[in-house]
Symmetry: C2
Subunit: 339 residues, 2 copies
């Protein structure tokens, strides 16, 4: 059946591999009959884990890969040396067109390097950004870039804004998404050298809906649909988001256990609290795509459970159906012809 979206899945990557990864694959193919998962990893091990499940067997295939890239390994070296690793084997499936997408909860560095070196960039894309969805008070915002592209240039940020707008419009369904640049004040003259140079370029872009600077304080309130920033800043935002949310939740839960009165109250508010915190849980939104590549590469949390793996696999279908890469190619090429 050629209408399958074929997803190569790194069965060896992440804190909970291969158990939760394989469970996520099974959940995905049970949910959707238009997905085929190509599990890469140590065949015997994967077979054994898979045998515990019943699922439509034509929708999961094992592709043997004997090696594993560890999180602590220097990524460039790992991609070059471990040719039979689950990551390299899966990426080569995408490169050869045997898979539409690649999903991994493994080494971020290896996924980012492999994406560029093996899968390759769409012509004209200067740097592929990693773009996770952040939960906000108004839904979600796309944070672009929080990948490996530290010390980016203004032209990179302009491409991030364009690619992010395409993603938000066609994957998330947000018409004419707003674009903001992370800054330390609302005024145009504020910012560091990068932001000051990028601001007028974004303002001059006709194909995005640029609304100016966004202060970090406003991000959780949904200040813009696409939040553009350089990768170091984006990484700080992503991780602090998780950190403050996690710490505060822990503190609130502990606080509720301090007296009998509050314990009883805690029992009563628990279901409501759970629903609230679910809204602010980034694993609900699947993994972060690495945009601008010849194929889709999705990085999910290292701590991913089956739910996040399943969501990440399913999101690949929309990506393919919406022809996101064709749209990126058109916008990037159009900009180059204009220059």
């Amino acid at each position: 059946m050629s209408d399958f979206t074929k997803v190569a899945l790194d069965a060896m990557g992440g804190d909970n591999a291969p158990g939760e990864i394989i469970k996520g694959a099974v959940e995905a193919v049970k949910k959707r009959n238009d997905i085929k998962v190509l599990l890469t990893g140590q065949e015997e091990l994967l077979k054994k884990v898979l045998s515990e499940y019943t699922y439509p067997e034509d929708q999961i295939e094992i592709v043997n890969a004997s090696e594993v890239i560890e999180t602590a390994e220097p990524p460039v070296m790992a991609i070059r040396k471990k040719k039979d690793s689950s990551i390299v084997v899966a990426m080569n499936l995408v490169k050869k067109g045997e898979a539409d997408a690649f999903v991994s909860a493994g080494s971020s560095g290896a996924v980012l390097v492999g994406g560029q070196v093996l899968v390759g960039r769409i012509p004209g894309v200067e740097r592929p950004p990693l773009a996770p969805l952040l939960p906000t008070m108004r839904g979600v915002s796309l944070l672009i870039d929080c990948g490996a592209n530290v010390d980016a240039r203004p032209s990179h940020l302009v491409q991030f804004a364009k690619m992010g707008s395409i993603y938000m419009e066609h994957i998330i369904g947000k018409k004419n998404p707003t674009v903001g640049i992370v800054n330390i004040g609302a005024e145009e003259e504020k910012g560091n050298a990068l932001v000051k140079e990028t601001f007028p370029l974004l303002k001059a872009c006709k194909d995005i809906n640029f609304i100016g600077s966004v202060e970090a304080r406003e991000i959780p309130y949904g200040a813009a649909d696409v939040i553009v920033c350089e990768a170091f800043v984006g990484n700080v935002i992503l991780k602090l988001y998780e950190g403050v949310g996690g710490a505060l939740t822990k503190k609130i839960k502990a606080g509720m256990m301090t007296s009998l009165r509050s314990k009883i109250g805690a029992l009563l508010v628990k279901p409501a609290l759970k629903a609230t915190l679910k809204d602010f849980d980034s694993s609900e939104h699947g993994g972060a795509p690495l945009l601008g590549l010849n194929g889709l590469v999705v990085k999910t949390h290292g701590s991913s459970t089956s739910k996040e793996v399943c969501n990440s696999i399913v999101q690949c279908v929309t990506f393919k159906e919406q022809r996101i890469n064709e749209k990126i190619r058109e916008v990037i090429q159009f900009a180059q012809e204009e220059d």
Copy 2:
């Protein structure tokens, strides 16, 4: 009485000026008899507001300043032109030695520029960092720098680490405080150009307790006592901290109002929740000092209420008593002699 700590207070700065500012001054002098507050601002207005309170009258004095610097004004120009503004008049009191410290909830830009131009730097200090305290699961951490020094150099960050360590040890009472640099991974080879250059310099510092990289996710858990970063990143951290905390709290409160069951529960957990959130409220910790100046300059939130103003005034006493500036001078000069 020469044992007074004399604090010049910008009575016109901030969203709640002059009401909450003056109220904060009154609270401070009622709490401590070793503080004298010099209120700068429009004399008639301040007199009128002050007349509503009873307080030890020899501890508050009004110094007339006819102008006000607005938050939106370009700071360099404002400091230069508005010589009779509450900020410039107060800073000149510090410069002339008539006040030990200056506290303002007004324009951050004007306070940062005025601090450098009017109060002046301690010899050898390259850039004065703004260093607020962040509430964490383990107490507080000093975030240094989140001021106006964007695009900092490695030597600046090294001085931030030293000044921050002195502050944490002698104001907060943390013996041998740990120092971490904000980074996007734990390994030494990770980071942007600035972090990679700064890391070995910090590692080589004998007078600080450097523990390496700190990821943003770990900051709320109290990963290090002194969190060193460049100002743009620091500003993002500070504001996102407030933003995520505020948004999540709002969401949790709204979530608790969704059913009768959770409403009853909310009533029961309310006191415990309030105490918990107070721990994570940065206004409990007063304002942020601008370190490395000939005198103390403290910037409090624009939205400060009397409580934060009062805490900021009181913290000036410890700063003076602990001779923080003498200690900074020694450490900076010692480093220069070593070079």
